[in-house]
């Protein structure tokens, strides 16, 4: 019999060899890669701080070029193409993404820092599925708007969509934006986040492999200035933005007085509510998944645990015990549960806010963790003794940090859950069906997960109330943002206000 020793897991690295990393990338405009007219910047691997590649910073002139390409492609090719043909391009993209899934998963983990298990098992499969789902809508748009059934009046695309996506789920956010836009007949100019441009640039290759007509998809890399140039461009009909609430507000101000339609998917401070009759072991998994999945870099993260006071001790004990089996480390190791923090800036923000938590008297706890010396790392952390009057209960930390609050009754849970300017998501854990439905109906959040958390599906609408943004992505509702019942919508120059226009 083997002598009793610790069951250590040996390193189980996913090979990087599958990715063909170039040393530098240009912009993808009108179906080909082209140099930007401005400066370049570097993108690094946050787990090691190794430079991965040099990327172009698109200038206002570059953005203009991209929008022109999108407009031309829209007018001459894409808006004229029957939906069934558009569908086939999207199906091709879905299939190619499935074929090249491992390559994309590795690249995503390198550029973003998230564990390969998550990019392989969650992010990339959802990308392929998102394109597959929306491909099927392209030729069924008559059923998409309220008033289902073939109304005879086919809704029209809006024209050119400017899309700005964040760094937390780079490729998945790209799919959430591009798939419905193209299915509805729009063309796009998309800017990936400055710390995670690489999978978007690789996606451009897939567009080429699928023979997508040039100009239908344009990828311009850059930072805040590039994003601003897209938002302010006079010939963009629609803006879709996922990112911070602060920038979302700036965009809303910027498009005021124009005809531009906007959807915003912003921050959150979701309550994960655990009742005394929750299926306790699965609830603990749900809490862990809710805040430590993707290093907590999730807008809909369950960052406030609201636990019924009568089961507080039991839940916290089980939660801490469960946290001791979380493995923090190399994102490319298949056994890693928690990867690197995406950037130095984000790590600084997390440290700052957790220090505030300490200062305000909350009690911090993390399991013992060996954090690597290179790269950006933060141990999974919980703060107990938190109340609504703590900053760490109100402000989005966007890291693997859970604030734990208590409640006594369902009414109190609902009240506390809603007591926030945000309203993106919430979790409810109880075995009682009527309570699930009662609480869900009162929560002011766009997504309610009952006895589960962080579940996404292309057919399921996702989006927030209040300062978490407006509009929905996914499902039939996700198409509405890219369609207009007015046939003349795409013809009108969006930069100028007309009577009766609304968002």
């Amino acid at each position: 019999m083997a002598a009793k020793k610790t069951f250590e897991y040996a390193p189980a690295p996913e090979s990087r060899a599958i990715v063909d990393l170039k040393s530098s990338y240009g912009l993808f405009i009108n179906g080909e890669f082209t140099d930007g007219s401005g400066s370049t910047f570097k993108t690094i691997n946050p787990a090691s701080e190794e430079v991965l590649a040099e990327v172009a910073e698109a200038t206002t002139a570059d953005v203009d070029k991209a929008v022109r390409a999108a407009r031309t492609a829209f007018t001459r090719v894409w808006s004229k193409m029957p939906g069934s043909e558009r569908a086939k391009y999207l199906y091709r993209i879905a299939r190619i993404m499935a074929e090249r899934s491992r390559e994309f998963a590795v690249l995503e983990s390198l550029d973003n820092g998230k564990p390969i298990r998550e990019s392989r098992d969650v992010d990339i499969p959802l990308v392929s599925q998102w394109f597959f789902y929306y491909a099927g809508w392209a030729d069924k748009l008559g059923y998409a708007l309220p008033g289902n059934g073939h109304s005879g009046a086919n809704p029209q695309p809006l024209g050119v969509a400017g899309q700005i996506i964040p760094w937390n789920f780079p490729l998945m956010m790209l799919a959430w934006k591009i798939a419905p836009a193209l299915a509805a007949g729009n063309t796009v100019v998309l800017k990936p986040a400055e710390t995670t441009p690489l999978t978007a640039l690789l996606f451009a290759e897939v567009c080429q492999q699928a023979d997508l007509p040039p100009g239908v998809v344009n990828i311009v890399t850059g930072a805040g200035a590039t994003g601003q140039a897209i938002v302010e461009h006079a010939d963009v009909n629609k803006i879709a933005f996922t990112g911070s609430t602060a920038v979302g507000k700036a965009i809303a101000r910027s498009v005021a007085g124009t005809d531009k339609k906007v959807t915003l998917e912003l921050g959150g401070k979701a309550a994960n509510i655990v009742f005394d009759d929750a299926p306790i072991d699965q609830a603990v998994e749900g809490i862990v998944n809710g805040i430590f999945f993707n290093q907590g870099h999730v807008c809909c993260a369950g960052s406030r645990l609201l636990v019924q006071e009568s089961v507080y001790d039991d839940v916290i004990e089980r939660l801490k015990r469960r946290m001791t089996t979380l493995r923090v480390g190399d994102p490319l190791d298949k056994n890693t549960d928690i990867g690197a923090i995406n950037s130095a800036e984000q790590l600084a923000r997390i440290k700052k806010l957790t220090a505030v938590g300490d200062a305000e008297g909350a009690e911090r706890w993390s399991p013992p963790c060996d954090l690597p010396s290179n790269g950006f790392w933060f141990a999974p952390t919980i703060f107990t003794g938190v109340t609504q009057a703590h900053r760490i209960a109100r402000e989005e930390i966007f890291g693997p940090v859970l604030s734990v609050l208590t409640f006594r009754t369902p009414a109190e849970a609902v009240e506390k859950a809603n007591n926030t300017p945000y309203g993106l998501s919430a979790g409810v854990w109880t075995e009682k069906g009527s309570r699930i439905l009662s609480v869900a109906s009162q929560l002011r959040a766009g997504v309610v997960w009952a006895n589960t958390f962080n579940k996404f599906d292309p057919s399921s609408p996702f989006g927030g109330y209040k300062e978490s943004g407006y509009g929905r992505e996914g499902g039939r509702h996700g198409l509405e943002a890219y369609l207009s019942a007015d046939p003349a919508a795409a013809e009108r120059p969006p930069g100028r206000r007309t009577k009766g226009a609304h968002r």
Binding site: S84, A87, K88, Y91, Q129, F132, Y133, A135, G136, W137, A138, D139, K140, Y143, N148, G149, H150, P410, A411, G433, S434, R435, L437, S438, V439, S441, P458, S459, G475, R476
Partner: protein, 286 residues
Amino acid sequence: MSRIDVRKTYKLFIGGAFPRSESGRTYDVTDSKDTFLANAAKASRKDSRDAVIAARKAFGGWSTRTPYNRGQILYRVAEVLEGRRDQFVSEVRASEGLTARQANAVVEAAVDRWVWYAGWADKLAQVVGNANPVSGPFFNLSSPEPTGVVAIAAPQDSSLLGLVSVIAPAIVSGNTVVVVSSYERPLPAINLSEVLATSDLPGGVVNILTGDIAEIGPWLASHMDVNAFDLAGVDDVELAKELEVGSAGNLKRVVRPTATDWTADPGLSRLTPFLETKTVWHPIGV
């Protein structure tokens, strides 16, 4: 001397396999100019009985797959169909007496029709289902579910486009089917069976019997384990009435035959007849 080709045998398609008719019968299939093409199996009532058993067996698994999975499988069928277009073009040409250009158009339309239906799998529930605002503290949701085993009389004339237009809508929502092909133009149906058999479609989801609807139809109509009957290919008015009467024995959902332009957009017309609506209530309270 030119090479002698290896000619295909055309058998039935039941439970994912290709058996001959248990009756041992075949019949001559000719092209539009009466030239002999092949012997096709002539399905008997026992074959239809076996096909229903296979369809029922496959229903539990097929109907409980995720809609996304069914959509992917149907899309794969379209991929394989597209890959075999030349074979289908020549077979449709021969069967229906079309020009090359016409046959091409038919095959393209058939593939596109299949792709269109594949895309419905994960959207039907959103278009025909909904929450209901009942006047009480209840959560109330209506969702579509597949009805079960659907018998289908495939169109007599449109041997490929009409054929896919009756099969795809029934199975995309989770039903399993027993299809009686066109009597005089059965060969594209058996070709299609070969495509289905190699496309990850589980055996028994689609079963295709070549034969005479006048002979087998009444047995399917009276079969108590068949839930619906699409009479698209029943051209004879008396027979159609007889089959509708027979179907009343277990209240099958029946789609009567009408003159149909198979090239036109079918809308939901062949999706909804084979759906049941399940409405669930649950109280809302602490």
